[in-house]
Subunit: 186 residues, 2 copies
DNA sequence: TGTAGCATGTAAGCCGTTACATGATTGA
DNA sequence: TCAATCATGTAACGGCTTACATGCTACA
C-alpha cells in the first residue's frame, strides 16, 4: 500500500528535488548536508529553510515513503542519511508535470520603503537605495561563485540556467536602482 | 501614556504606510478600502494580505493607538473608518529611518521547476517558461494601468517610482526568460 | 426576487522561525 | 582543553491563509 501523493508544501518538493540530484547517482544526504545545499542554491529563488524545518520535512517525507532513512555509523556517532525512493521520484515528477506554477511572490522591503519616500525625504531614500545596491553586489558575488562551480557540465545544465537567470535578475535590479537614484529629487 | 513602538510586522508597517497617504489629507479608510488599496499597489512588491488579516492588523494598530477607529453610520449600517494618528506617523517614520531594509525574498516556483528540468525534459520546460511569460504579460498590464493612474503628480512621485521599478523588473524577466528558451536543448 | 458586491469578523490550521537542549568530533 | 563545527531534534509562537458565519445594499 503506497502512500498517495499527499499535498506537500512547495518547500517539501524543493527538498525532494535536491535529493533527486543525488538520487540518480544513488548517493544520499544527511539533513545537515541537505541544508547546506539549500543554502547554496535554493535560497536565491526560493527559501533557505531553517535547520529544524529540514529535519521536520525529511521526517514527513520518510513517513510518506518518499525518502528512506538509513542510519550511518561513523565512529560512535549515528547520522541519518536520506535517499529519494522511486515513489518519491514519481511524486516529484507528477508535481512538476501536472501542477501549474504560481506567479512568483516578491517581498521587497526596499521597494516598500521607497513607496513611503515622501515621509523621509530624498537623502534618506538615496541611502536606502545605496544600501540595497551594496547588498545586491554581495549577493551577486555569491551566486556568481555558485555559477562557476556549476561549470558547463551537461548534468548540471538546468541548475546552470537557473543561476544565469538569477545573475541576470541581479544585474537588472542594479541597473534599475541606479536609474531611480538619478531620478530622485534634489 | 503612549504605546511604545512595539515590533510590528512589516505588513503592519506597510498598511500603516497606506493609511499615511491619506493621513496627511486627514481622510480615512475602511478595512475594505484598505484591502483594495493593498491589492492595487502593495501586492506587486510585498503581499496582498487576506481581508481577515487586514482587520486583524487594524485591530492591533488601534490597540496601540497608532490608528483611530471611528464608527461611520451610513443608512442603518456602521462601518469603521481608520485614520493614522500622530503617534502612528511617528512610529512609521522611525521605522523607515532606523531599520535596515533586509534583502528581498523571492519565491519563484517557475525557477524552482526549471532547476529540476532534467526530470521532465525540454519540451515540458518550454511549456513552463511560456506559461510564465504569459502570466508576466498579464501582470505587467495590471501594473501599467496602475502606473497610468499615478500620472506625474508631485504628490505621487514615490509610488510612481516604485511602479516604474516594477515595470522594469517585469520587462527584464521577460527578456531573460526568452533568452533561456533559446538556450534550451532540442 | 435573487445575486453580486459591500462589510466585518472568528476559528482552525499550516508553514516556518527562533529559542532551547543535547551531545560528538576536529583541530588550534 | 576550549572553541568551532557537526548533527539532531523539540517547544513555543508568529504570520498568514482558508473556511466559515453573518448581514446589508444595489441593481438586474
Amino acid at each position: 500500500m503506497r502512500a498517495v501523493s499527499q499535498d506537500l508544501s512547495t518547500t517539501s518538493y524543493a527538498l525532494l528535488g535536491l535529493l533527486a540530484f543525488d538520487g540518480s547517482s544513488s548517493s544520499s544526504l544527511t539533513g545537515y548536508e541537505l541544508k547546506q545545499r539549500a543554502d547554496r542554491t535554493l535560497r536565491f529563488y526560493w527559501v533557505a529553510p531553517a535547520m529544524s524545518q529540514v529535519y521536520t520535512e525529511l521526517d514527513r517525507l520518510a513517513r510518506l515513503d518518499l525518502v528512506t532513512a538509513s542510519a550511518e555509523q561513523s565512529g560512535r556517532r549515528t547520522a541519518q542519511r536520506y535517499q529519494i525512493t522511486p515513489a518519491g521520484l514519481e511524486t516529484l515528477q507528477r508535481w512538476l508535470g501536472d501542477s501549474r506554477a504560481e506567479f512568483p511572490m516578491l517581498k521587497h522591503p526596499t521597494a516598500l520603503r521607497l513607496l513611503m519616500g515622501a515621509l523621509i525625504g530624498p537623502d534618506r531614500v538615496r541611502q536606502l537605495l545605496q544600501d540595497y545596491l551594496d547588498q545586491l553586489a554581495e549577493r551577486r558575488d555569491d551566486l556568481a561563485s555558485v555559477r562557476t562551480m556549476l561549470g558547463d557540465e551537461e548534468r548540471l545544465r538546468y541548475p546552470a540556467l537557473v543561476a544565469d537567470w538569477g545573475l541576470g535578475y541581479y544585474d537588472s535590479e542594479s541597473t534599475i536602482v541606479r536609474d531611480l537614484l538619478e531620478r530622485l529629487p534634489g
